[in-house]
């Protein structure tokens, strides 16, 4: 991955827009394509790819770049050169851009619709919006799988549990999965559209609901992006409390996931205990911040309200209470071969795939991609606290469980640090109103991986914004993880990924 070709290509581009803290450049077709080829050759990570009515933007990072950056291309004759042609992780993003804005990725390897199921009565709702006849949602060309004894199992969109909707098309040979193809987009709510020309307060509430389980991470990234655009910083006390909320959210989700994975292997005792741990965290969050999931608690400029007077004590008591019990359950996980028989060597994702897709969170870190936004693109309050980033190489369900276990321990460590040395002072500052359009970008580490938010602020309002969930680069790897595994292990694989449908479908 270490060549400086990508940096050289970028150095020949001219700056565009007023974007902070990463630069934005304008590219013409030839250099845009070259960037796609270099990403395809493994010279950098694709961070995001999104549209607006006249442009397509691409965010990337590379080892030889000081900072990540954004490259923009103007759409000409309704087209832009496909990145997905050279770099597969871009394909679904380009299909989404096409469905929302109508921009055609030239020479794309996959021109099927993605978010547009033919139910909107519109084509290109955020671009040159046109009335469009309704299509039968079943009209979708799944990839063909041929071979002796192959048969298909269609699952969803309504699944068997209390989970989000999506369609999984399994082609199996006996018990073994030959191919899984996902069809997503069922919970598309038009979030990028709702964010256009919106007051900042409303936009923050929408951003907080991109994926409910990561509401803190999204509010955090949205607030940080707006603050970057306005060139301000949240007060130190707000920064520390944002960290507290983010780590509480991570703990709650990891407890839920660890339990649910064990449950899918019929190891119900771990599930029951992890459910209780999760409740303890949510109850403490409720007590400290007034909402179990801490929704809308982080706002641009700081946080909505200071921690309650007994909040610090409540969280500390919860940590003291949960930590020893959690250690016992982990011991139990480690000491139960029948459970590990299900999780070890199941659903392996290779190091090459997580590197290519720049997969974040437990999916990347279980397969040797040692990246964590909190450390590698650090932001307050993580720049002033010590923590380890656990990484494993087995790439199986078990490794994804261990990433979560070790992260819970690190979260507890950080929480104790912040609770002991909480800065004093105000928790929110007023946002300045700037006439001139300014752009801000921010990434935070949600429990499942990196969340990316880009905003353009003008006249004290959000002009345009985009949010990209970690799931975009994890869902495709789930298709790879299940290949060759038995159907019965799919729930385990799926739960060990726990991708967001809502965060992906937007």
């Amino acid at each position: 991955m270490a060549t400086n070709g990508l940096a050289r290509t970028l150095s020949s581009l001219r700056p565009a827009g007023d974007q902070r803290p990463w630069p934005r450049y304008a590219a013409e077709a030839a250099l845009w394509t070259e960037i796609g080829q270099r990403l395809g050759a493994g010279e950098g990570d694709l961070l995001a790819l999104w549209g607006e009515p006249q442009f397509v933007h691409l965010a990337l990072r590379a080892p030889d770049l000081v900072k990540p950056c954004v490259v923009s291309i103007a759409v000409r004759n309704g087209q832009f050169p496909s990145i997905g042609r050279y770099h597969a992780p871009a394909i679904r993003l380009e299909r989404a851009i096409h469905d929302l804005y109508g921009h055609v990725p030239g020479n794309t390897p996959d021109d099927r619709p993605w978010l547009d199921h033919g139910a909107w009565g519109l084509s290109a709702p955020l671009g040159k919006r046109k009335r469009s006849p309704l299509r039968d949602p079943a009209e979708y060309k799944f990839l063909r799988v041929a071979g002796h004894g192959m048969h298909q199992i269609p699952v969803g969109p309504v699944h068997a549990g209390i989970i989000e909707p999506g369609h999984f098309r399994f082609t199996v040979n006996g018990e073994h999965v030959a191919r899984l193809e996902q069809r997503l987009g069922y919970v598309h709510k038009g979030i990028d559209g709702l964010l256009i020309d919106t007051d900042i307060e409303t936009a923050a509430r929408i951003a907080a609901r991109v994926s409910g389980d990561s509401t803190v991470a999204y509010s955090f990234a949205f607030a940080a992006a707006v603050e970057a655009a306005l060139d301000i910083e949240a007060p130190p006390r707000a920064q520390a409390l944002r960290g507290v909320m983010a780590e509480l959210e991570r703990m709650a989700n990891h407890f839920g996931d660890i339990g649910a994975i064990c449950n899918d292997a019929s190891f119900v005792i771990a599930h029951a205990h992890c459910g209780i741990f999760r409740e303890r965290v949510l109850a403490a969050a409720d007590q400290a911040f007034g909402h179990r999931l801490m929704m809308d608690a982080i706002v641009p400029g700081g946080i909505a309200a200071d921690i309650s007077p007994d909040g610090v004590r409540t969280i500390r008591t919860m940590l003291d209470d949960v930590a020893p019990h959690f250690a016992e359950i982990i011991q139990l996980y480690d000491d139960t071969p029948s459970l590990q028989d299900r999780t070890c060597t199941t659903g392996i994702v290779g190091k090459d795939l997580v590197a290519k897709w720049a997969a974040g969170g437990h999916v990347g870190r279980a397969s040797g991609r040692d990246f964590d936004t909190r450390r590698d693109l650090t932001y307050a309050p993580y720049d002033k606290v010590k923590f380890d980033v656990p990484a494993f190489t087995a790439g199986d369900v078990d490794a994804r469980v261990w990433v979560r276990i070790r992260e819970v321990e690190q979260s507890m460590r950080m929480l104790r640090h912040w609770l002991k040395a909480m800065p004093s002072g105000s928790v929110r500052r007023k946002l300045p109103v700037t006439r001139k359009a300014a752009e801000g970008i921010a990434m935070t580490e949600a429990f499942r991986g990196d969340v990316f938010v880009w905003v353009r602020v003008a006249d004290g309002r959000i002009a345009q914004a985009h949010a990209r969930d970690a799931s975009w680069f994890q869902w495709p790897l789930l298709e790879a993880a299940i290949e060759g595994n038995i159907v019965a292990d799919f729930p385990l694989c799926n739960k060990s990924f726990n991708c967001s449908y809502s965060g992906h479908d937007l």
Binding site: G121, I162, E164, G256, S500
Partner: protein
């Protein structure tokens, strides 16, 4: 494993441990719920949850009904995998247009008598996603709704209260 089981023999149930006003409310609602569920359904009320475009916040709290703290099965209420087995549909989300057909089909697949609970602000039509090209709005624009439980997301305790209210309604009709 053995130590854990041994400990469990002497541990108090988490459900009634450390009473607080919230827990007292839970126990009270629970008893009320059990009485009515038994009368109406012979202690068997089955719910099918349908996410029709939610952000997944509501799902997290509905999930919590099944944990050891809220343990909704005590009251004879359980969640089923198929609408064929359900008495109640709990529907979340602003009904994305991409989920409308699936919701209609799930409703059609649920045998009568059936009740629908719209869970959360989005499902009640007052959420942040109501005014989008991609959403229908409220659940009652797609299937008849018997009860609305507001909240973003509603707390598990509110969901339990809602189930009591539904029992009232079902008994009356």
């Amino acid at each position: 494993m053995r130590t854990l089981l041994l400990k469990s023999l002497f541990a108090r149930p988490v459900t009634i441990d450390a009473p607080s006003p919230e827990d007292a409310a839970l126990a009270e609602i629970g008893r009320e719920l059990e009485k009515r569920a038994r009368k109406l359904f012979g202690r068997s009320l089955t719910i099918r949850e349908v996410d029709a475009g939610s952000c997944n916040g509501c799902e997290l709290e509905i999930h919590a009904l099944n944990n050891a703290i809220y343990d909704v099965e005590r009251f004879g209420i359980k969640f089923a995998a198929s609408p064929r087995h359900a008495d109640v549909l709990m529907v979340t989300g602003p009904v994305s247009k991409n989920m409308k057909v699936a919701l209609e089909r799930t409703y059609a697949a649920t045998p009568a008598p059936k009740w629908v609970i719209a869970v959360g602000d989005c499902a009640c039509g007052c959420g942040v996603f109501a005014k989008s090209y991609a959403t229908v709005g409220a659940v009652d624009k797609v299937v008849p709704v018997d009860l609305h439980i507001k909240g973003c997301p509603p707390r598990p305790i509110d969901l339990l209260k809602g189930l009591v209210a539904l029992m009232d309604k079902a008994t009356a009709s």
